[in-house]
């Protein structure tokens, strides 16, 4: 358990002792201790229904994405979850499949979901070889583990020098559902064995 987690548990326990009050989800099961056993007759018309009010509960995590399809550039790939590498970058998937950054938002949730794929391997084209061809209005579809689909529409495609990668534009939290597709592009540096730039597709939720 993390330090923060311990604080939460310890604090919650202390709080329960201090206030001696109800627990989450159970509060409506019993009458409030100080309330009269028979409430007075309603004096205004909304009281009865107000007494039955229940706040929204039942948040469920959106199912994980399992497949990516981009008809315009012939992409139809399964998706694997990616974590963080030791150097702080996102792990990269194998050549032939795309991967989604599993510590960020899931596609369709508020925030920017990020999917990475290789432009090529050492021997030839890889899953995002044609990513740079995407233009405004092109369609992207993500299928989730429960069979549901979420669609996105490309807003723009841009190339960035890796030394000036727009971290905030790609990863910073937002409450607007969005999708970012990332691969390599630009000049290839034969000394380092890496491309010098990244190609990033920015997409918004579509229909």
């Amino acid at each position: 358990m993390t330090g923060a987690g311990r604080r939460l548990v310890a604090g919650a326990a202390a709080l329960a002792l201090l206030v001696g009050c109800s627990q989450a989800g159970a509060r409506r099961a019993e009458p409030a201790p100080a309330a009269t056993s028979q409430p007075p007759e309603p004096t205004v018309p909304g009281v009865d229904v107000a007494r039955g009010f229940r706040s929204a509960r039942g948040y469920r995590a959106t199912p994980a994405p399992v497949r990516l399809e981009i008809p315009k550039i012939g992409v139809a790939s399964s998706l694997i979850p990616l974590g963080r590498a030791a150097d702080g970058t996102v792990e990269v998937p194998p050549w032939k499949v795309a991967g989604w950054y599993a510590r960020g938002p899931r596609p369709g949730d508020p925030g920017s979901a990020v999917i990475l794929g290789h432009v090529d391997s050492t021997g030839g084209p890889a899953v995002f070889f044609r990513l740079r061809e995407l233009r405004r209005g092109d369609r992207i579809e993500v299928r989730r583990a429960d069979g549901s689909r979420v669609r996105f529409v490309v807003q723009r495609t841009a190339q960035y020098d890796k030394r000036r990668f727009p971290t905030d534009e790609v990863y910073y939290p937002t409450l607007t559902p969005a999708l970012r597709l990332v691969t390599c592009g630009g000049e290839f540096d034969y000394t380092s064995g890496h491309y010098r730039s990244n190609i990033i597709v920015f997409a918004r939720l579509g229909t």
């Binding site: 909304g46 929204a56 021997g123 990863y171 937002t174 592009g185």
Partner: protein, 425 residues
Amino acid sequence: MRSRTGLVVLVMLALGAAACDSNTANRSSSPPTTQASGHPAEHQGAAPATTPKELAAELEQYFAQHTLIAVRQMRSVLTATPDYRKAADAELQEYTEELGQVVAAAYGDAQGDRFKQIWQRGITDFSSYADAVAANDASAKQQARAALLADADAYGSWLAEASNGRAKASDAATVMRTHVEQLMAQADAYAAHDYAKAYQVEREAYEHMFTAGTSLAKASLAPKAAAAIDAPAEKLRAAFAMLLGEHMQLVIDTQRATFAGAPEFKAAAAQVNANTTALTKGMGAIVGPKKATEFEDAWAEHVEGLLDYSTAVASNDEAAKTAARQEMRGYGARLALYLSDVVRNEVPLEPLTNALGEHDQHLVDQVNAYAEKRYGEAQETEIHGYEQMLGVANTLVAAIQKTVKPQLPVGGSQTGGGGTANRRR
């Protein structure tokens, strides 16, 4: 003049933690009153916005709050509640004056005066529209509608000129036409007892004008300065402030709807729940699904405590009121603990607990005043409470940003092997 910005409250929140305890403990069921008037004390004028972000926060707050006062004023006409209408009319006048000053600070005095004239005309025309709906006078309704659309177009022309063309007249007019249509639609729905639609459109209108406030701020700035408002961190602040401020306002709606009847209560409560769901999803984007569920539980208790209290007030049940206040203190403490944990103590627990307690107190005070038909006081408390809530939102988001930033991935990805490099060049 009241404070113009939640940012001031934000600073007070951080600095005034120790004082909060005694303030809360000593507060009666009414907001603080001035000796002379017996009305709720009004804030002193805040310093003008000095940064693009402050300007955006001020205009978002003013536009959003104005929308809700106007909605409630129109409904007071439809329900023939002249005392409430009188209080709302006075508030709209004061708000227009203050908004005019904020606009003048951003666009210059002459443009501020022109803005105020257009805004004032709009308020009058909204009132006329509500009168026409209440009287079921189709001709007067049509006349007011035409006048309101003309006001929207006048706003578009004004902004295009005031911003030296940075905003297009047609775009700005479209934004204001949407606002006008929304306020008319909610009044029509309310009059037809279609409360579900009335409250849904009200929420949409609030959100629309919140973002219209952002646009108005941006149009006053040179592109480089305006870019600060478009930065991801600032967008996150605005989005959370909008939702947390909306929570405050929708709880007020729902508390008051208890006095209006079951159908209206259900409609208002549905919007509170929609806001809670949106907030939970938003938290999920930052803290992940597990902690989002914890948030939803803590938030649900908070909301239920507030509505338990207003139900007790409406029932004239003193014992239930006392029980609800006790519940609220427990729920507030739990919520503060959760939030403090999420931001890893960037905001210490005690001031956060006090700030949430103050938020609760505003909602308790406003419903007490409303139940006793002290509408001016209810409204003034509502406005204080909204400002305070935005301050809490800004503080929380600032802390969330400090927590989140170091956890973001660093730099670009190495997603190429070079096997097609020659083909690609």
